[in-house]
Symmetry: C2
Subunit: 333 residues, 2 copies
């Protein structure tokens, strides 16, 4: 049987481009060993973190990533034929693996959660890692209290849009920064109190005008100078959840320089913490349940940017860094 995978052809250097990737065809055996399963990808997740992990991959490695896949053949009783799974097997269309042996960060095969009728693709987005990042980063690190002001950067992305909606559920005033007029309008539709196109405004003046009582929580997907200006407008005891830093992923960290507001950090006693959702793995189940509930009752709305075709993965990934996605970026095989 033929399988396709996309490998790292050249190390990332600056923004990702098509030359970083190569689509490779290979033959895989259809005769499974005991406890092996054959997976067919249905939806693949496309996320900025793959750029940051570029330096952990070697040339020739399959690009990291998760997918919703169907179990086509199975010799594992935990994964019957016909079932769908969430599989961290990288950018592959057909995959043979033994789930018992696929362990570690960004590896593994998991049963689909019961989405209670929501679309399967939501298990990658609002009811998957994307939503969990919003849920835990906001609730565990920012710990927003009702009436506080929460700022979200890259607010129209899959994670930011969910984080802002959860902050609204918790009774906060929510201000989002995004990169286009369409995104800004969508955030207002979602119930954000204010949203701004960061390319068109002065972040400092905007926050001084619209967050007159100061910022209490910042859910950050961007880093860099945007974060500097948010910190300048953050209150005593502010909390910053670092979910991503898309503004810096394409720089060489050993030479790139940014504004960083140590003075605010110290004299306003601000806490800043980076996180990965695997930290709260034991709590994923109840969190997914709560996210599903919010989506079903309309309090959290999800939007996906869907690109067709396995071979489109590299371009979809490149497009993220151009801000072309609204909501969660996924590829349909």
């Amino acid at each position: 049987m033929r399988a396709r995978k996309i490998i790292l052809k050249n190390y990332f250097d600056g923004k990702p481009n098509l030359n970083n990737f190569e689509l490779v065809e290979e033959s895989i055996l259809e005769t499974l060993e005991d406890r092996e399963i054959l997976l067919k990808a249905v939806w693949l997740s496309v996320d900025p973190y793959m750029r940051a992990f570029g330096n952990r991959m070697n040339v020739g490695d399959t690009i990291l990533g998760s997918q919703i896949a169907q179990v086509v053949k199975s010799r594992h009783p935990g994964f019957p034929e016909g079932n769908k799974v969430i599989a961290f097997v990288g950018w592959r269309d057909m995959t043979i693996c033994n789930p018992d042996k696929l362990k570690g960060l960004f590896r593994g095969v998991f049963p689909m959660p019961d989405l209670q009728g929501l679309p399967d693709s939501y298990a990658l987005g609002v009811c998957g890692l994307t939503g969990l990042a919003a849920y835990f980063g906001l609730l565990k690190i920012c710990q927003p209290k009702s009436g506080e002001t929460v700022v979200i950067s890259s607010a129209a992305g899959g994670t930011g849009s969910v984080a802002g909606q959860i902050a609204k559920i918790k009774g906060c005033k929510v201000i989002g920064f995004a990169g286009s007029e369409e995104k800004v309008r969508w955030l207002l539709d979602l119930g954000f109190d204010q949203s701004f196109n960061y390319k068109e405004i002065n972040v400092d003046h905007t926050l001084k005008k619209w967050a007159v009582e100061g910022v209490n929580c910042y859910f950050d997907n961007v880093g860099g100078d945007l974060t500097f200006w948010v910190l300048q407008n953050t209150n005593e005891s502010g909390r910053v959840a670092l979910c991503g830093a898309i503004s810096s992923y394409n720089d060489d960290p050993k030479t790139a320089k940014v504004q960083f507001d140590y003075t605010s950090m110290i004299y306003k006693q601000i806490k800043m913490e980076g996180f990965l959702v695997n930290r709260w793995f034991p709590e994923w189940g109840p969190a997914i349940g709560e996210l599903i509930g919010w989506v079903k009752d309309g309090r959290v709305k999800s939007r996906e940017t869907v690109v067709e075709g396995f071979e489109s993965l590299p371009q979809a990934f490149i497009d993220i860094f151009e801000g072309k996605n609204v909501g969660k970026m996924i590829v349909a095989v």
Copy 2:
């Protein structure tokens, strides 16, 4: 009666210089109102934070600061004549104040703690705010565990030297960075496992060689590029206590750029938190008691750089930014 005070003559711009300060003589009444006291400064504390607070002072304001003073006259039953106090009244030699009305951040008059025979000046240093910053920053934010590796920047300063010694008491491996060979030798005398002159070495290579298992805790007084390289060598779940950022106090924060390691912050789930010791005010008493105990039994050693004369305050302050102090910088009146 004549009193002297030192005021902000010109706003700080870059490194402090003598032109930022003016010594002013004034007359003060010797007839006290009810509940007023007359204080005579004995020791004055000189700290880098005064630079960071420069933008909260106006030209003409007395420079912020604390002192050990003697109560020369008193109409307040809580502060009898002859007693010594810790007074946050700024850079003044003779001061009339009503302690009941002097409240707020960096304001107030407090009874001297019982130093159990230790020198009075220690109430500004190892058994005062300096020691408390080390104590709470390290124990509350870094939360070092026995066997972990702790890095201290500006390690031969008043706070850094105490933080390192407390980390040793807690069973940690302690690595200090300081700015001269004399300081490096002193840190080794104090029991630091390793210490280095950051001007002479490559921080990245040094940590890769001497912190082979990675850094768990970082007590930071410096910020900037030094902090970047420590973060590069920090482990998963590392904790950074931001006590100061002396490398940035003399820069314009709105234009200065530094390296900042968002990628390490996120993917190693590092927590960074700024702090002021007033946060733990209810716990100061027991903490001072513990510090006094450690000093008396020799587990924490204190060193002071003493400069003579009230009029020497500006130069002593300038000298801090040249790294001329070893241990706590104080001025004797």
